[in-house]
Amino acid sequence: MTISTPSNSPPTDAASDPAIDLAVQDVVPESVDLAEEFESSGVREVMEELDKTLIGLAPVKQRIRETAALLLVDRARKRFGLAHSVPTLHMSFTGNPGTGKTTVALRMADLLHRLGYVRKGHLVTVTRDDLVGQYIGHTAPKTKDMIKKAMGGVLFIDEAYYLYRPENERDYGQEAIEILLQAMENDRDDLVVILAGYADRMDRFFNSNPGFRSRVAHHIDFPDYSDAELQQISELMVTEQNYEFSDKALTAMAEYINLRRKQSHFANARSIRNAIDRMRLRQANRLFQANAGPVGRKDLITLEEGDVRASRVFTGGLDSDAKPILPSAED
């Protein structure tokens, strides 16, 4: 389990907490300026942040924009006293590993917080192991514990389908599912649940658990990144860590991405991150072993072609018997 808090969330004092703002509205306004709302609620900031830090994912961003619009309008309607019900905010994020689901969940938590739909805006990320116990009576407290920690924020259940194991009729996952369903219904004001995982498995999961299907209103599909997007992502990651590719390394990286995708255990951006970590290691070893006098700034920040091409991906991938630098499942 991990708990993340939004890094740039607004202060939660009464004056600026949108939830409290709504509570004290007793005068019906003449009109509502949606553009101004977009600005003042901080939604624009979140959307910009999303655009800036996340490459690609156009359909995801579009869905988030739509959700934000819905919630903004919903808020405006409330001020006019127009009939409204608390919208169902539970979501499912489907897609392959490394397609940005957790990152977007963090932004989503921030967004919901700024719009006043959750009070704190923190994200609690869990998997089956955090929710399901090994003995009788072990599961309910574990699941409830996680729900308590997530109250006021977002509970992100990664690979949610592992909760459901029809092959074992005494599996304790079912108990966790029931408690989660209850919380998703009764604590809608305090808790948003996001279920995440591979698209096909999530489909099967929803089909066998209609309770979840009926409580999840927003489905967002995360497509795989294109080669060009992964190339961009690799450059962004390298820059963030104060490195840069040489021109030849850049070409090699493009080849690497193309090859890597065809091999097993490909995990989009996550595979790229891991590859870069290993390239840094090779670069360091190269600098150290070359032992060619003092090294300058340029040497320290440049990843060379050789640092990329030394990967086993170029020699047949995971089955290759090339000697690894690091024991690793992927390289």
Binding site: K144, K148, M151, G152, G153, D187, L191
Partner: protein, 140 residues
């Protein structure tokens, strides 16, 4: 009588919303909350029964209020329930706030027993009337 232990015993009993505000104050200070219950209200009965272990890593009061609801389901009416906030920071490492959230409908109070001794001295014993009955049958 009304026993007046705890941070807020002289105010009317708090609503859930008011309790929740105190919970949030504690959470914002980084303190862990715990519920405890007892049917022995003696002022020096330090160790009330713990309802689970203290709730660490909770961000929002709603999570703590869930636990109070669960505790009440079992013990409200037949026990006192109090909420205790623990501060682990150096130089304190103890309780920061302790308030009674639930009390039995009728509180019979205490009697003072005086044992006269030499030189006008008196040895005092405070006894809760309810503790003449066995634990678990005191406020039923």
């Amino acid at each position: 009588m009304r026993i007046t232990q705890g941070t807020f015993s002289f105010l009317p009993d708090f609503t859930d919303e008011q309790i929740s505000a105190q919970v949030q104050y504690c959470l914002d200070n980084g303190w862990a909350l715990n519920f405890e219950y007892t049917d022995d209200p003696h002022p020096r009965n330090t160790y009330w029964e713990m309802w689970g272990i203290p709730l660490f890593d909770i961000a929002d009061a709603a999570g703590v209020m869930m636990e109070l609801a669960a505790c009440r389901k079992v013990h409200a009416g037949t026990n006192y329930i109090r909420m205790t906030a623990f501060d682990s920071s150096h130089g304190w490492e103890s309780i920061r706030l302790s308030m009674i959230t639930d009390r039995p409908a009728h509180e019979p109070g205490f009697m003072v027993e005086r044992q006269e001794q030499a030189g006008r001295r008196i040895a005092y014993t405070t006894r809760a009337y309810v503790t003449t009955r066995p634990a678990g049958e005191r406020y039923t």
